[in-house]
Symmetry: C2
Subunit: 296 residues, 2 copies
């Protein structure tokens, strides 16, 4: 039963990977994909699974990664303990994606959905969060509405939305969020493996609906140098979050993951300026007010 | 005696800050400086010292930070323990600088020199390391020769050079160094406060000689788009090191330091590309071979 659920979940994330990549190509026919199938050794030096990394670049998406992986085997016991496992055997399958569009009117997006087993314990985690660079409030409302609807059958929107607000935060930047949030959950386990797996699968299927209509709406909007400058500085904050705070990144790097696949999340270009602030009275200054928890 | 040494060391790093900034202006008359005097609260909410941050930008130096600080007071006891203190009272003074030139033929440089007291214990730390983007081997030899000469009276070059090779490493990038090294030392304490302070002071005075003659030599060299592309990707690796591995950065962010002053080390612009490699047979590919420990 467990092994069937695991196999099914892994198959699902692979299918979802294909669906998302196909959707990207619809909007970006020039999209080029580098696909890498990789394998890893586990902590004992045995076969530890691997993954399918897709690095993409086109005219709409400056850089993007849509990755799946299925990793298993022995882990460093100290590491197993830190992430809450009861043995040093682990199994994990998931999809992780990040899309960095060129046009600053089109938000950056990140999502991941994963199933993890450590010894006798298993849990699910994941979510999706939006990082816009222009104060088109209706887009943020739309994104949250899709996730509100998605979570409705499970009664978890408020909880998962709050976890997202709490998680994607640059603590060292006066608690500023990296975007406008979305949903996030981790260590999710009700005791009913089938039900939990069905929920994670169901939620993941809302990703396409949550994001691509926003791309469609904004894709042809014009933008100027100030828009790009703001976007590149916000991408800098994105880098700060991913390298200083993101547990997925440190999990990956510490569990002997594939560095290129993990750091595919970083934006193609970014900027850092001492005490950066957008121009007073600009749309970008207004945008800053949205990087705080809000009811949508 | 101790308080006199502390005061003298702090005065020295402030004088050195002025000397380095003046030297930068000689090479970059267009250099603009933003100087911020800042104060901080300690862990108990009392006056905890502060610093003098200088953020600079010109025609030679795209962005640079030359900072001094003098911080003191209570620290989080867990934090004090982690850094090896015996009480929760700390005192630290130092200079920290990073210079990111526009021209990829001119190397990026970093240096810092600091004195730290935690309870009854005190120690010195610091060093200087070079991050070049073009394989001008004579520059790397020159830089190391200056530090070899500087360390000679103390017999520490081999040791400090090795500590630098071991420290400025992106472990997650197959042990690649962020540059060509230099010297680095930490927790330096022979038991003779006066002597140790004199050594740290003496070494710090070699920084100007170690770097600016390289600037002078390369400042007018031409460069092309490929040179810039390689430089921006190497700056990306610089960001990875600083945010993932640098103890100074995490020390600063965790000890309630001033975020803008700490992250002044990040380059104005940088790039990240999935599986980035310079062109086969190029000078940039050759440059990669220098990001490994070498005898100079």
């Amino acid at each position: 039963m467990l092994s069937e659920t695991k196999e099914k979940f892994h198959q699902h994330v692979c299918d979802l990977q294909d669906a998302i990549c196909n959707k990207m190509k619809e909007f970006d026919p020039a999209l080029e994909t580098v696909e890498d199938l990789w394998e890893r050794k586990d902590f004992a030096g045995n076969n530890g699974g691997g993954g399918r990394t897709r690095a993409m670049s086109g005219k709409v998406f400056e850089n993007a990664g849509v990755n799946t992986s299925l990793v298993h085997g022995k882990v460093d016991p100290a590491f197993a303990k830190r992430i809450g496992g009861t043995t040093d055997e682990m199994w994990a399958a998931g999809i992780s994606l990040i899309l960095h569009p060129f046009n600053p009117k089109v938000p950056t997006v990140h999502a991941n959905f994963r199933m993890i087993q450590a010894g006798e314990r298993f849990w699910f985690g994941g979510g999706a969060d939006l990082t816009p660079f222009y104060p088109n409030e209706e887009d943020f409302k739309y994104f949250h509405q899709v996730w509100k609807d998605a979570c409705k059958p499970y009664g978890h929107y408020e909880n998962f939305k709050k976890q997202c607000d709490d998680y994607f935060v640059n603590k060292h930047r006066d608690q500023e969020m990296r975007g406008v949030g979305g949903i996030f959950f981790d260590h999710y386990n009700t005791g009913d493996l089938e039900k939990d797996s069905a929920m994670a699968t169901d939620l993941s299927n809302f990703f396409i609906k949550s994001y691509f209509p926003i791309v469609e709406k904004r894709i042809d909007e014009s933008f100027n140098d100030d828009d790009v400058d703001f976007q590149l500085h916000r991408r800098g904050r994105y880098v700060e979050f991913n390298l200083l705070h993101d547990r997925g990144t440190s999990f990956g790097l510490q569990s002997n993951g594939r560095t290129d696949s993990i750091l595919i999340s970083l934006p193609a270009r970014c900027k850092f300026t001492y005490k950066y602030r957008p121009q007073a009275g600009s749309a970008h200054e207004k945008m800053l007010s949205y990087y705080r928890p809000k009811d949508w």
